[in-house]
Symmetry: C2
Subunit: 340 residues, 2 copies
DNA sequence: AGATTGGGTGTTAGCGCTAACAGCGATGAA
DNA sequence: TTCATCGCTGTTAGCGCTAACACCCAATCT
């Protein structure tokens, strides 16, 4: 072997030497600078793949001050909602030529979110998306590093950042109205956990419709989004069958739990009780009975949030904060029926 | 405002000036170098938070050649399995002080995976995890950049990289044996799509047990992991009721589809037909009936893969390739019963 | 006493790249 | 002819950090 067989990956200067140009010309070729002779360009290109050269984006980022990396802070990405949102974010970011660096929190609190944002800032991300469905998490956005472009997803409404979210209140209105339209006297609610903004929005829409229609507003049962908590709520509701004829459940997984509890207790859905869920997870269509629910387009939320964020980054200045709302969609299936 | 109120974030030299030391001393403080006087250290620390200084990891990475970032290439992270695996990866990586940069592929093929790996390499990741459940994807690992530490998850067995996966064959054996033990003459199978290694492993284990027991091996129905494809398979199976008394379904979502089809066709589970799923998604326990299934510990797979990868990275040399297998677990619930 | 250690600190070089500017030959205008 | 212009290329500086080494001043040893 010759003396030049070292394992160190080639750098721009190596390419330049081989192509007989300066490293700057190589840089120009790589960055599609117009003022390069076609013949020079091809010579450089040839040298590049002869050496298997890959440009070092770290060095590039150091001088340009742009890493073309976006940070995402999320909570429990094994859940369908966050997972789909993050997926949408990732796709949109990559289409725009950005990398995505993810921090997935175990527990969500202001300090945790702050730390995560801090790490990402050190790492040099050009902007941050915070999937902040909880009040405490959303508040962490108030102390972002100065000048850091950011956008909140499913987040706090009055904050100092742009927010993209599905209209939870409207979704809850759709669900509740549908049940009232079927002739039910009132609608019960199994809500999500207290601190969650989505849970609050769904309670608000539900209560609003009932109140507007002059119906009694039953106390909401509280779950934690899990099928098990829905199952427990279902057991309670089953004991009140007759009084309860319609339930709006704050997500599909809890609705599945209710379905299971009702099956065990011999309560027929939708004959004795109607159920509307929320989210439209891929499984809902195949529940027994298939679940009437409110679809959230998580992918769209992810994509829109990247639109907003990139506009901020690429304008280079602090743009006015936007509030983007993605409409939910009512999906009629077999878990609801007219009141007897 | 004074003349020094510029928006440029503070750098190490600014901290040094304020603390009355050299920038190198600041660096030493930040890197916990032992040879710094306690008094100097506190003076530097004070200057750091007085200025709100954050170190620039991009510059650090340029000189150290380590970004402390890991790349993850995955496919459809909205599915429970990949999402959980990636979550496990992310947690383990962060616990070890690494960032995670994700590329989530829409379609999975060798070229796509190769591109993704290329981007990640340019970006300067210290190592790569490829969640490569498909043959074609797994093969992309054969042309990794030289010297890039990597690990495959749920991947190809004979490759030139370490692999961490759940023992699919064993899981399928458990499922099939369970059904045979219940007295069923044979077991039908609804498999995953052809190119998937997990689908192949599950077919293999199923076939192996049937063959060993001298039972007929029915032709497998093929699904695409979705509840809908399971539903379609269920319709076909329902038409053969009597002949078919036991089915092993390659994942829980398809099993849900079967359940739905059987409900529609008036086929009773488990009285007329027994079903075993695979994965143990959080919903399975609340299906009607609750699904007997094989649990995969995706989180463990993610964590183990990071162990393997970090060992490679931190040793600094090419370690022998490992093959780590995480055992599956049988979960007995209500969808299986003894043959009549 | 002088030599030797070693903890604490500063100085210098350089990671691989882009920005800014300088240079140079060919072209066109005066 | 002379000077400005323009397309293409090279040279230089520097992004913010760490590594390597030099240095100084105690403390310790011979």
């Amino acid at each position: 072997m010759g003396p030049n067989v070292d394992r160190r990956p080639p750098v721009m200067a190596d390419v330049a030497r081989l192509a007989g140009v300066s490293h700057q010309t190589v840089s120009r070729v790589l960055n599609d600078h117009p003022n390069v002779r076609a013949e020079t360009r091809t010579r450089v290109m040839r040298a590049i793949d002869q050496l298997g050269y890959r440009r070092n984006l770290v060095a590039r980022a150091l001088v340009t001050k742009h890493s073309r990396t976006l940070g995402v802070v999320s909570f429990d990405t094994t859940l369908y909602g966050p997972a789909s949102t993050v997926y949408g974010i990732e796709q949109a970011a990559r289409d725009a030529g950005y990398f995505v660096s993810i921090v997935s929190l175990r527990t969500i609190d202001r300090a945790g979110v702050n730390d995560a944002i801090g790490y990402l800032a050190e790492q040099g991300v050009d902007g941050i998306v915070v999937v902040a469905p909880q009040r405490s998490a959303a508040r962490a956005l108030d102390d972002l590093p100065a000048g850091m472009p950011a956008v909140a997803v499913e987040g706090w409404h009055q904050g100092e950042v742009s927010v993209v979210s599905v209209d939870q209140v409207e979704g809850a209105r759709m669900a509740t109205s549908h049940l009232l339209d079927l002739g039910h006297e009132t609608v019960w609610h199994v809500s999500g956990p207290a601190d969650w903004l989505e849970a609050e929005g769904r309670i608000e829409g539900w209560r609003e419709v009932l109140t507007a229609a002059g119906r009694p507003v039953p106390g909401a049962l509280t779950g934690d989004w899990s099928p098990r908590s829905g199952y427990q709520a279902g057991k309670q509701l089953a004991a009140m069958i007759g009084d309860v004829t319609a339930v709006f459940v704050a997500n599909d997984q809890m609705a599945l739990g209710l379905l299971r509890a009702f099956t065990e207790e011999g309560v027929k859905v939708p004959e004795q009780i109607s159920i509307v869920g929320f989210d439209d997870i891929p499984e809902s269509e195949f529940f027994s009975p298939p679940l009437t629910t409110i679809r959230q387009d998580f992918g769209a939320v992810g994509r829109r949030s990247i639109d907003v964020l990139l506009r901020q980054i690429e304008s280079g200045e602090a743009l006015p904060h936007e509030r983007l709302v993605v409409p939910p969609r009512f999906v009629l299936r077999g878990s609801t029926a007219a009141a007897r």
